[in-house]
Amino acid sequence: MSTVVETHDHGHHGPAKGLTRWLYTTNHKDIGTLYLWFSCLMLFIGGSMAMVIRAELFQPGLQIVEPEFFNQMTTNHGLIMVFGVIMPAFVGLANWMLPMQIGAPDMALPRLNNLSFWLLPMAFGILISTLFMPEGGPNFGWTFYAPLSTTYAPSTVNYFIFSVHIMGISSILGSINIITTIFNMRAPGMTLMKMPLFVWSWLITAYLLIAVMPVLAGVVTMMLMDINFGTSFFNAGGGGDPVLFQHVFWFFGHPEVYIMILPAFGIASHIIETFSRKPIFGYTSMVYAMSSIAILSFVVWAHHMFTVGMPLAGELFFMYSTMLIAIPTGVKVFNWIATMYRGSITFETPMLFAIAFVALFTIGGFSGLMLAIVPADFQYHDTYFVVAHFHYVLVPGSLFGIIAGVYYWLPKWTGNMYDETLGQLHFWLTFISVNLTFFPMHFVGLAGMPRRYPDYALQFADFNMVISVGAFLFGITQLLLVFIVIKSIRAGKKAKPEVWEGAGELGLEWTLESPAPYHTFTVQPQVK
């Protein structure tokens, strides 16, 4: 990615030299690169926390960490993975690819773009620093239910609240930028229904973000008031309502989970059509499916709260609405398969990740459907079955989507092909370890192991050992990804402009030379 430095001969004003290039940059590619490396760093920090969790759970009994620290690890692992890895990585990909896909020179609001990135290291710096304070960091789960996160929280919760506010501002600014770019900077001829699916997915995601990030900001502000200014939003003792917290949180939280998957849908669509050498099947229905998922995602939030004691009508409503969301999700899967059907398929690394994405995300969709069945959810809720579900949609779902996207566009970014053999190795190790880690979680969950437990009954011992071994393997394997990326930045077979056979017709990004010039389209292309 830093090879864009060498491309200054393409523009008269190349990037500045040294550190200031990255501090002051307003270039969408530089900012995309920053986002992606930030996300990569966070992946390893959040990942090490997962390693601590799995090391403690390797055997029953407390061996490595105390329950208090264990809770801090689960909480920060969740927060970092959601807000520090998946979301920034998608924004990074958006920064790199949106202008290239819509035929624009850069993002619409470049300075804002710089600000939205640089807010992130601040937010996470604050969050992570709490771990080193005497009272320790947040320990109330990434869902931070009140009153555990208010009355009963360590005082460092105030840093956590501040940090969430900053993350929220960063996301909102980023979304404003993305929406403005998409609406104003498309090449002539690119009507909405001709936009690449990744652009569509991000347009919808950005709207979701703008809709729900203020809700998150609201809920943490209410916490702040309860903790420091004597209000009782969530304090039953003062007439408040702890369940209100959950409603507000999940009104943000459920759309949030779709924020974390929609861009991956977009990426998978591009990769599957490229390597099937056949245009995406049912483009229109793909767009409608994403839109209906986004709209439905506002009316399913309480499926995370089936055990809080809602009235029967409420339980049934949220069961039916959640089941509905499975329909557009299913339609997307069918469309991907119909794209492969009668294609001419090759299996380069991005395609392998995309195929695994379709298969394993679908497994996560199945367990989601099971969780939606209220009476059955009484047994699944807050067990490892839920942990299995959301890891299937988030790791082989969102994260595979990101990794697939990185392999797919890397040659366009660096001008060099990545090492295909190593890529394949990385895929297979990741694929095996991901299933080794997360599949047995279904079993321990069904058998009754609750989540967020630092220690467990003996009957769960065997599976937990397998899970931990899988997790360690997964963790180590990701170092290979970093190696492959760096290797391709430094050298490699030169990539052609279209990079992948036949891709030239699939999107504007493949009409640019590889690596793409520092300023993307200085002359607007024409779309037929």
Binding site: P60, G61, P67, E68, N71, F140, Y145, L148, T151, A236, G237, P242, V243, S276, R277, P279, F281, G282, Y283, T307, V308, G309, L312, E315, L316, Y320, M323, L324, A326, G330, V331, F334, I337, M340, Y341, R342, G343, S344, I345, F347, I355, T362, L369, M370, I373, P375, F378, Q379, H381, D382, V444, A447, G448, P450, Y453, D455, Y456, A457, L458, F463
Partner: protein
């Protein structure tokens, strides 16, 4: 023939007896518990129904996908077809998916209506989640008690082999009679907990300020074990639920005994206690109720949990200590222990004022059950 029948007997034995027996026997280790109540069985059936629906959808969808990947691979010379849309196909699979969901939704709704019936119970029990133990109060009888994890910390810290019911055992289980409709009124005292017994398929959040209801009717005597399933702080994993379901006669006898014990306990309050007696009783109480935060050696885990050894309150301020134990500390993890007997509270206060170096360095004031009674009388006015 004889040989054959002998063989087939063995064969069938293996297939029909041993295999299912091992599978079923072990099933509890990787599948949802079938449970013992009508509702839990119906939920299990529902779970298996959705599971198989998902499996079959998976077989079809993944079947087509992997077949396409294999059949249309370029290395075999596949040439891409030229189509990218089919309106009726899209409508078709949308409708098919909807129909499948309707088929699942109908039985789900039925089971849900049944599980959620909140009519009065024949026996009503108030279940309160505390950090980190359960409190049970029988509304019809004058019985109430706490239920604490009884696993030895030495087992948790691997200094001793772990027992069969490691982390699934308590000092005093909830006792209910079989074949009676039991209604649970579930609430929380501090943070949110969740009361779960898989074999009854009852999981309800215990939320401060709310009273949730759940019910069960257990047909078989037995010991049923469950957990707290809502993150509630440090010892979330260490507050299991154990329910003992017994025949009606045994239950009646238990109630009588419990009520009698409670009376005796009341008598104890008026008895004259020596410092040694209080110390001894207080030590036991401290071990089950206070060590989680203040630690066995009284050092606490500063700054969150203060040390009791050398604290100004345990050394020189008995009235404040009574107040702390009776009222808890607002905004901190220190809860009120007012639910316990006067004897226990007096004993644990005396213990903490005598133990470690506090006996030597403090003012030596002894708190007796009468002091607690006096405190109660004063505050109730």
């Amino acid at each position: 023939m004889a040989y054959l029948s002998k063989f087939s007997f063995k064969f069938y034995q293996i297939i029909f007896l041993i295999l299912p027996a091992t599978l079923l026997g072990e099933a509890a280790d990787y599948n949802m518990s079938v449970g013992v109540t009508e509702v839990s069985r119906e939920i299990f059936d529902l779970h298996m129904l959705i599971f198989w629906v998902c499996v079959w959808i998976g077989v079809v969808v993944f079947g087509i996908m992997f077949w396409s990947l294999w059949k249309y691979r370029k290395s075999k010379g596949a040439v891409a077809a030229d189509f990218d849309d089919n309106f009726w196909l899209e409508i078709g699979w949308t409708v098919a998916a909807t129909l499948i969901l309707v088929v699942i939704a109908v039985p789900s709704t039925q089971v849900m209506v049944k599980a959620y019936d909140d009519a009065e119970g024949e026996i009503n029990i108030m279940v309160t989640g505390h950090q980190w133990k359960w409190h049970y109060k029988y509304l019809e009888d004058d019985i109430s008690f706490f239920s604490n994890l009884s696993t030895d910390p030495e087992q948790i810290y691997n200094k001793m082999p772990k027992g069969e019911f490691y982390l699934k055992e308590v000092d005093e289980p909830l006792v209910i009679p079989i074949n009676k409709r039991i209604r649970f009124l579930i609430t929380g005292n501090d943070v949110i907990h969740s009361w779960w017994v898989p074999d009854f398929a009852v999981k309800q959040d215990a939320i401060p300020g709310f009273i949730n209801t759940a019910w069960t009717n257990v047909p078989e005597p037995g010991i049923y074990r469950g957990n707290c399933t809502e993150l509630c702080g440090i010892r979330h994993a260490f507050m299991p639920v154990v329910v003992r379901a017994v025949e009606q006669e045994e239950y009646d006898a238990w109630v009588v005994e419990k009520v009698m014990l409670a009376e005796q306990e009341k008598l104890l309050t008026s008895k004259e206690w020596t410092t040694e007696e209080l110390f001894e009783r207080g030590e036991g109480f401290y071990q089950t109720n206070c060590v989680a935060c203040h630690q066995v050696n009284g050092q606490g885990i500063p700054p969150v949990f203060p040390a009791l050894e050398g604290s100004q309150i345990t050394l020189n301020d008995a009235p404040r200590q009574i107040e702390i134990l009776m009222e808890g500390v607002q905004g901190a993890a220190m809860a009120s222990y007012a639910g316990y007997s006067e004897v226990d509270i007096a004993a644990v206060i005396t213990y903490t004022r005598q133990a470690w170096s506090n006996g030597e360095n403090g003012d030596g004031v002894i708190v007796t059950p009468q002091d607690i009674v006096a405190y109660k009388n004063k505050t109730e006015l």
